[in-house]
Symmetry: C2
Subunit: 490 residues, 2 copies
Amino acid sequence: MKTIFQSELKVVNIGLESFQQALAASGCQAVQLDWRPPLALSEKDRRTLALHRGAIDKANKKAVDIVLNGKPFLVGLEKAVDVLPGMRKNSVFHAGPPIGWERMCGPMRGAVIGALLYEGLARTPEEAEGLASSGAVAFSPCHEHGAVGPMAGVISPSMPVYVVKNEEHGNHAYCTLNEGLGKVLRYGAYGPEVIERLRWMAEVLYPALARAVAKVGRVDLKNIIAQALNMGDEVHNRNRAATSLFYRALAPAIVRTCPQPERAAQVLEFINSNDHSFLNLSMPASKACLDAARGVKDSSLVVAMARNGTDFGVRLAGTGDRWFTGPAPVPDALFFPGFTKEDANPDIGDSAITETNGLGGFAIAASPAIVQFVGGTSKDALDYTLQMYEISAAENNVYRIPSLDFRGTPTGIDAVKVVEKGILPFIDTGVAHKKPGIGQVGAGVVSAPAEPFERAVAALARSLDRATRRPGRQRRPEGRPGRRPLGRGR
Amino acid sequence: MKTIFQSELKVVNIGLESFQQALAASGCQAVQLDWRPPLALSEKDRRTLALHRGAIDKANKKAVDIVLNGKPFLVGLEKAVDVLPGMRKNSVFHAGPPIGWERMCGPMRGAVIGALLYEGLARTPEEAEGLASSGAVAFSPCHEHGAVGPMAGVISPSMPVYVVKNEEHGNHAYCTLNEGLGKVLRYGAYGPEVIERLRWMAEVLYPALARAVAKVGRVDLKNIIAQALNMGDEVHNRNRAATSLFYRALAPAIVRTCPQPERAAQVLEFINSNDHSFLNLSMPASKACLDAARGVKDSSLVVAMARNGTDFGVRLAGTGDRWFTGPAPVPDALFFPGFTKEDANPDIGDSAITETNGLGGFAIAASPAIVQFVGGTSKDALDYTLQMYEISAAENNVYRIPSLDFRGTPTGIDAVKVVEKGILPFIDTGVAHKKPGIGQVGAGVVSAPAEPFERAVAALARSLDRATRRPGRQRRPEGRPGRRPLGRGR
């Protein structure tokens, strides 16, 4: 005991970093152990997962290979009601997991009001609110109809959408066209200029792009994304390079197929004025690849992370159509002048589909400008990406990071690793004002909440457990490869 | 002595790295000291430079501030003969320091032949050779007429040129339009397809771009270059982002001002098909900034590095119009299939004006893809840029490197530092076949040769020495600030 109190104090701290920081500040030698407690999971579920680790890993390998081999191409543009599965005349699709009008956050309500005005189903915002709350509007998540939408993610029947085809698997994904920045529907604004822009997009932009895509046949989105990662984009919060490459690829065809040169010039100017144009293509490109991996039995691979501004929802490849949710967090952000975190709505949008696909926050080492934006360094950006390898099932075979010597981006979130390691997915995001009608107030980063992952993994564990207990099945010892049902193939 | 031979051998090696490598390979602990001998300089010149260090530093500060504050804008396009100072009907301007037909390398001869065919001054390559060797053609370096040209850098009277204005200082710089890759004039090819393309550029591309630039007024080249450095370009060997941004900025105006949409589409396609389009703008943008710093007395700042494929030439701000030359080295390159270093011409072109301006090889940390191209890693790219800070007069205030936390690029080569430290400028480059008529055979990197810097610094030392010895001047003690002539301002 005596020697302890005579020797210099050296502290190893585990847990809250502020303890270590306080000691270090007072001159004491204090080391912070890089360790996090695992997320909450019952002892029984933990045992089940350990028992089935081999089967889960095998299923994840299968699922992530499907994601990596996806070949997303832009093949056309159509009106939403003509192509979105299950869309009816009174449908309004939205970002994130299912939610009704009563629980919807401000910006999503604002976007719904705008969509009803745009569709001509209401003449005033008040009328739109009345209609939305009456039960006459059929709300449903974009994700359940092969679609994704940034921020509020509202898609109404007459909006034009990009049609993306995963040519490896034959499935399609859809997304609206990006409106630009400022007061826009996806951030909950619904003023006259918002509705007018949406009409111009349907009447001028949509036919011009549709003709141009028809002329070139198809646009290879995976190729554009791969190039953009070499050009400072992570194709979630930064899309300048991808937008440029998309614009370059399509401009000659836009000019050739537009009946009036002035219209062609306006279309080019609209895309040129908005570096986020490509976001509405990187999202369905990701969705098309991830949807192909849905339904892979026993897999803990995350196939969707999405937020409706109230709840953060997760779906796994191996847990069917179920959503696992928890409260959406408020992002750390750089706020536009005049706004603070007080104004910020909790995290919202389907755009985390990019992170789910090894892009966005997972590829942020390729885009240090984004981290600098919220006060970080290029080393922070590297560290975020390096940490995401810890919870990923694979390294991407096409999407690569120059500053990591072109190492593939961490791709395919393994929810079991998230829960075991207590490392949560890192997401780039925009920030909407919490009240309807205002719009964007900032941009920043956020970590996914723990609950959806805890719930998803618990559900997977229970389904594995049930499967093992079924008559005619044998329980296999720990560490052995997965079960093979007797008498039928996988 | 005994203890030396009993203890383990530990070696510190200075000089040739192979000694250290051989020891390390055999398991011996051997450290390589990062040291190079200074370049050759007489003891007298060395003393003179030491005596005037203060004056040189002050002059360099003045010169590099002029470079940093340059504001290069594309303000129009014209025919070379109408705008290039000193261009006559029989002029052919070329890259690098002065050279006559008899000493010209193969690719430059090829480009001259092509230019004479293009101008209609010869009907066959043989006729062109006869004319070129007859003395009837007035050869002169681009650099001596406010112009720069990539590779052979040949400019003949009827070629269209970009007109770049340095709005801070009022001076202009000029460069031809980029032809694309493959068999092109600047790499020494002169076949019918080369001449035909040059005609199309003069008849279709030139008027379309001229009208578009007139419509938008001017294009901010510094802004595009700054953005491109955040997007994986170093705007010498990689110009994909800068070309994209230039294309985006100009496309709507091209469409609006082109009488036929099909022509506009062809022009867009031509630029879109050639990621090097912007090289011919990053070069005159650099030239415009550096030319403004010419004539700053006592300054050892390099204002031009240029190669004619035979000689490598350097000009300093403080040594007037003189060129200091040495043999051009053969680059380390990745060769196209079927070619080897045997086929390579020594380094050629005015494009090292980008390195002279803190871009290209000096900014290669922003563009690790280029180093990977010749077998290096992203760390190598960082190291090259870090080493260039050692010989630079300043860090750029606008051009920044994301992976170095947006540190300004090393800008303004101080020839005295080059000689004192023995660190030679690092240059990205293309490689031409040494025979005329063939074209590009590879791309790679090269270090500038020592001789031009040794000669330039010796000349500067002699001019400083002469100035000190003039009647009415006093010799100042070492380390004191520079001389101020009595009775008149600087």
